[in-house]
């Protein structure tokens, strides 16, 4: 096995038997060791340490070395020689426990890549530019468009005040009108945008608009910015061409932005392959899972500062990064966006508002702390549900078909009032939800991860759920770009943990009224015939890899996937949590009265043995 060319920069051509990979998150730096055992790659040890962009270090490599040092202690392998990673592995010299063959990393430390995008029409080129930036793993801090309702001087002020790391300009189809594109270039030039880091370097700006406007844009912005011109992201109205702009974003991120963050220059030198932004790396893995198994998938990576959502529906991949929805740095923003009642609706006890607000703010200012008591854990799980829910709403609004495009319609479509730009997210056709990130990967009981995702996403019909075992998807994403076999082996064996299937009828009713009847046949032939009423939640053990069959007979206004009241038989797959049957209604509605809500939560949490003593 040799390293495939990463993009030429690694220069490694040694056999890859021992790999160390890190992900520098905004809160924690995670390191994993991957070793070739026989013919298969396995993830063997892991370590973590706080990310050290803070004083006194202000050097991301310190956290990386600390996380790798933990692996050294646990594995007995000598990886570090002072502050240098020993490469390659010295097995050929008779020293099997020294060195690794390659070190690779992903990063979202430093607040990630913050971009501003511009277009001509907000929900056409503006949105295409947004998708291009989000797809490259960026956080889009604003979308400026000629028709965004802001006055010219307001646009200029906005560009000046936001201080993005990079700007992506789009607008106009090739050969179309240029006026608005040039106008926007004038505004950007007039704003004289300054980057967040560094006084002397010029702000990277990508122009991916009307190709006829390129000479004018070069004239206006060539001197004032580090201008890069690439193919139009919307060459014709009916087509998006996001690839070239995304590649340029990655290149400029490495060349300009990461160089400015504390210690990244050293990190880039340490790594044997280009450092990928974490959302880009997780996206690679999510897209691979979906395409390999031909699934419709929603993936989520809930981190400290951001929540990244990925989806593949009908083979179309989309990614959004919800900046400021996260579990540490941004936890207070989840409270601000969701509102206190929405968070409290998941908490199975009463707590006064002041105490809760202070606790959330304390987590914001000391983001590396963990819940020590059960009530603190339950509060964090409540906040996570809201962060997941809000991030999916954001994703749903952006994962759409192209807007402004004339749709071809046949006679069969005449009675369907479809508009262009309809969201691609269809929960009834969703096959798999994959969760990653600290709160999901490190939940003490796997059922907690499953219920957090079920409550936030409200899957309908039959949906499989999985979780990243110890949060290693980013590592595997970057690894897949240099050694696909290693990434695949570890992904299948050590990373993906199937939680089980959730069956949830769509429809609502009164508490206690009949909802579904079912016959559940387990792999050993045992059959259970039972019924559930509206408001009930039930969990059956069904191990990973095992399949059961279930014949569902919904009541007349409940739909399990074949239509209201229509029976359905299907095969369902198990997981570490089991088979969850959720008759709490879709949309999910919790009792509004406080005591009734707490009682309902306690009943549900007890039904699935969610917490110790529940």
């Amino acid at each position: 096995m040799t390293v495939a060319s990463a993009n030429g920069s690694s220069g490694h051509h040694n056999p890859l038997n021992v790999i160390v990979a890190t992900d520098c998150g905004s809160t924690t730096t995670k390191a994993i060791l991957i070793e070739k055992i026989g013919n298969e790659y396995r993830q063997t040890y892991r370590g973590e340490a706080p990310t050290t962009v803070e004083a006194p270090f202000e050097d991301v490599t310190r956290g990386v070395l600390n996380a790798i040092a933990e692996i050294e202690e646990l594995s007995g392998r000598k990886i570090l020689d002072g502050e240098t990673i020993i490469t390659p592995n010295r097995a050929s010299e008779g020293d099997a426990k020294t060195g690794v063959d390659i070190y690779i990393s992903t990063s979202s430390a430093g607040g990630g890549l913050q971009m501003m995008v511009t277009g001509v029409v907000q929900n056409m080129t503006g949105e295409s530019a947004q998708r291009a930036a989000l797809g490259a793993g960026a956080i889009v801090i604003d979308v400026l468009a000629s028709n965004d309702g802001r006055l010219p001087h307001e646009k200029i002020d906005r560009i000046r005040s936001m201080r993005p790391d990079m700007i992506l300009m789009s607008g106009g189809t090739d050969g179309g009108a240029m006026t608005h594109v040039i106008e926007m270039a004038d505004y950007v030039a007039a704003a004289e945008p300054r980057p967040r880091f560094g006084v002397t370097y010029k702000l990277p700006l990508i122009f991916a608009g009307n190709k006829d406007a390129q000479p004018q844009v070069k004239k206006i912005l060539g001197e004032k910015t580090a201008l890069v011109v690439t193919d139009n992201i919307r060459p014709v109205l009916e087509k998006e061409n996001l690839g070239p702009a995304r590649n340029k974003i990655h290149d400029l991120f490495l060349e300009h932005v990461m160089q400015q963050a504390p210690g990244y220059k050293k990190l880039i030198d340490m790594a044997g392959a280009p450092i990928m932004p974490t959302p880009a790396a997780v996206g690679v893995i999510m897209e691979t899972i979906a395409k390999r198994n031909r699934l419709n998938l929603i993936g989520v990576d809930i981190g400290g500062a951001t929540t990244d959502v990925f989806s593949v529906f009908g083979g179309i991949f989309n990614r959004t990064v919800s900046a400021n929805l996260g579990m540490s740095y941004s936890i207070s923003n989840v409270l601000a966006e969701a509102g206190l009642p929405n968070i409290m609706r998941w908490v199975p006890f009463t707590i006064d508002e002041q105490t809760l607000r202070n606790r959330i703010k304390n987590k914001m200012i000391r983001p590396t702390t963990i819940p020590q008591t059960l009530d603190e854990l339950q509060i964090e799980h409540a906040i996570a549900r809201e962060a997941l829910r809000l991030a999916l709403l954001h994703h749903t609004s952006l994962a759409t078909g192209l807007k402004g495009v004339q749709q071809e319609r046949t006679i069969s479509d005449v009675f369907e009032q479809q508009t262009s730009g309809k969201t691609l997210i269809d929960m009834l056709t969703l096959n798999l939800i994959v969760g990653s990130g600290g709160i999901l990967s490190h939940a003490p009981r796997r059922i907690q991860s499953m219920l957090m995702m079920v409550d936030a996403y409200e899957p309908v019909g039959s949906t499989m759920l999985a979780v990243d075992s110890i949060f290693m998807m980013p590592h595997l994403g970057v690894l897949s770009t240099i050694n696909e076999q290693a990434a695949t082996d570890v992904f299948v064996r050590d990373c993906m943990v199937y939680l089980g299937t959730c069956i949830a009828p769509r429809g609502r009713g009164a508490q206690g009224e009949a909802c579904i009847e079912y016959d559940l046949t387990f792999p050993d032939g045992r059959t259970i015939s039972d019924r559930m009423t509206f408001g009930e939640l039930r969990l059956y053990p069904l191990a990973s890899g095992d399949r059961a069959t279930i014949a569902l007979r919904p009541a007349k206004h409940y739909d399990v996937g074949s239509g209201a009241g229509v029976p359905l038989s299907q095969s369902v797959e198990g997981g570490v949590a089991g088979l969850l049957i959720d008759c709490r209604g879709r949309p999910l509605q919790l009792p509004e009265e406080q005591n009734a809500r707490v009682a309902a939560l306690k009943k549900w949490y007890h039904a699935v043995d969610l917490y110790p003593g529940s």
Binding site: S26, P50, P56, G111, F197, R357, I360, L374
Partner: protein, 377 residues
């Protein structure tokens, strides 16, 4: 866990700090290496480009964009006064004459024959960057700024709001655990940095604003009072630009939490001295914590060196618990068990044992404490 790293806040009577003072855009540095500077002294100056005003001449004159040059009275780079004519048409009948006047005084930045727009820019604004702390210039970064070094006492807070300020330290309370009430504030505290104890209620904030207090340093506040003060719910801890009338620094966190005795004693010992303070907080990359810097005159750095930070946590280190249920308690590390331990949430985590001043002990996840960094002694 030899390399274990726990972030901590520094509270020390003697240290040397270096503060990088950098302009937001290239400008002129006004001092040289070796110069002794005062905190309020300007060390660099830049001209912030003025505001931009677009004027669409083509629309207003009802002409094609590429024709505007024929109608312009002024050219690119020319200066204009407010109401001065920028462009005009030349009709046969004088009554139909249209004159486009400048909405601002400034210069003509650009003229676009594609859009028909003229961009006017107001005169630049002079931005002066102060030294912030009393000290010596140890580095000049050409066109950008300087590095100032100061021998000082340093207290890092955990969170703050408001920008840089300077004032005399006044201790308003008698103990580290006493809340700062409106009655503690007097008109003599105008322009000063007031040290409180465990809690700052909303009424005290209002009184401080009324009196013109420069800074407030306390153990904790309630989030709801912060929200009322700012007028919005703070989503992420990136602050420093607030204009609420004073700079506020929390040393412990949110809630009623007595200020660490070490911090209170240190600040009290400097009552009457001038301090430079900043509430700017950024809990992300290039982290910024609020701080109180009190210059030390006649003392040299290195008398009580800071422990090298990469040594990691050790038995005997003073620590603050930073998570419920014992949030805000201060003690010292009494044991560092190496094995993973199951805590009530059922998570297996690395823990340490903390001994409190009353002799009681508790086991805490390592990540839920912070070392009170300072001099070794």
């Amino acid at each position: 866990m030899a390399h274990s790293y726990t972030p901590g806040l520094t509270v020390t009577d003697r240290t040397t700090v270096r503060r990088r003072r950098v302009l937001p855009l290239p400008g002129k540095v006004l001092v040289q290496v070796g110069h002794r500077v005062r905190s309020e002294q300007p060390v660099a100056r830049a001209e912030l480009p003025g505001k931009v005003y677009p004027v669409n001449l083509a629309n207003q004159l009802s002409i094609a964009p590429d024709e505007i040059k024929e109608y312009l009275v002024k050219r690119e780079g020319d200066t204009v006064e407010r109401d001065e004519i920028l462009a005009e048409n030349k009709p046969f009948i004088k009554w139909f004459k249209t004159e486009i006047r400048s909405p601002v005084s400034g210069t003509i930045e650009s003229i676009s024959p594609v859009t028909g727009q003229v961009l006017l820019r107001e005169p630049p604004k002079v931005l002066e960057l102060s030294a912030y702390v009393d000290g010596v210039i140890v580095e000049v970064i050409p066109e950008q700024g300087v590095v100032v070094e100061a021998d000082c006492s340093l207290v890092q807070g955990i969170f703050g709001i408001g920008g840089e300020a300077r004032g005399e330290i006044v201790v308003a309370v008698s103990g580290h655990d006493e809340p700062l009430t409106p009655q503690h504030l007097t008109s003599a505290m105008k322009g000063k940095v007031v040290i409180g104890g465990s809690f700052l209620p909303a009424e005290t904030m209002a009184r401080a604003k009324e009196l013109g207090v420069t800074g407030l340093v306390v153990g904790g506040i309630h989030d709801k009072d912060l929200r009322a003060l700012l007028g919005y719910d703070l989503g992420v801890a990136i602050t420093g630009g607030e204009r609420v009338g004073f700079t506020m620094i929390l040393t412990e966190g949110f809630g009623t939490i007595p200020m660490a005795m070490k911090t209170f004693k240190l600040l009290s010992s400097h009552a009457g001295r001038q301090a430079s303070i900043s509430g700017a907080t950024q809990i992300r990359a290039g982290v910024i914590r609020p701080e109180i810097i009190i210059p030390q005159s006649g003392k040299t750095s290195g008398e009580a060196p800071l422990r090298p930070p990469h040594e990691g946590i050790q038995i005997g280190d003073p620590v603050r618990i930073i998570r419920d249920p014992l949030f805000g308690r201060i003690g010292e590390v009494s044991a560092l068990p190496p094995d993973l331990t199951k805590i009530p949430t059922e998570s297996d985590v690395r823990v340490l044992e903390v001994k409190f001043p009353d002799g009681s002990r508790t086991v805490i996840p390592r990540t839920n404490i912070e070392v009170i960094e300072g001099a070794w002694s």
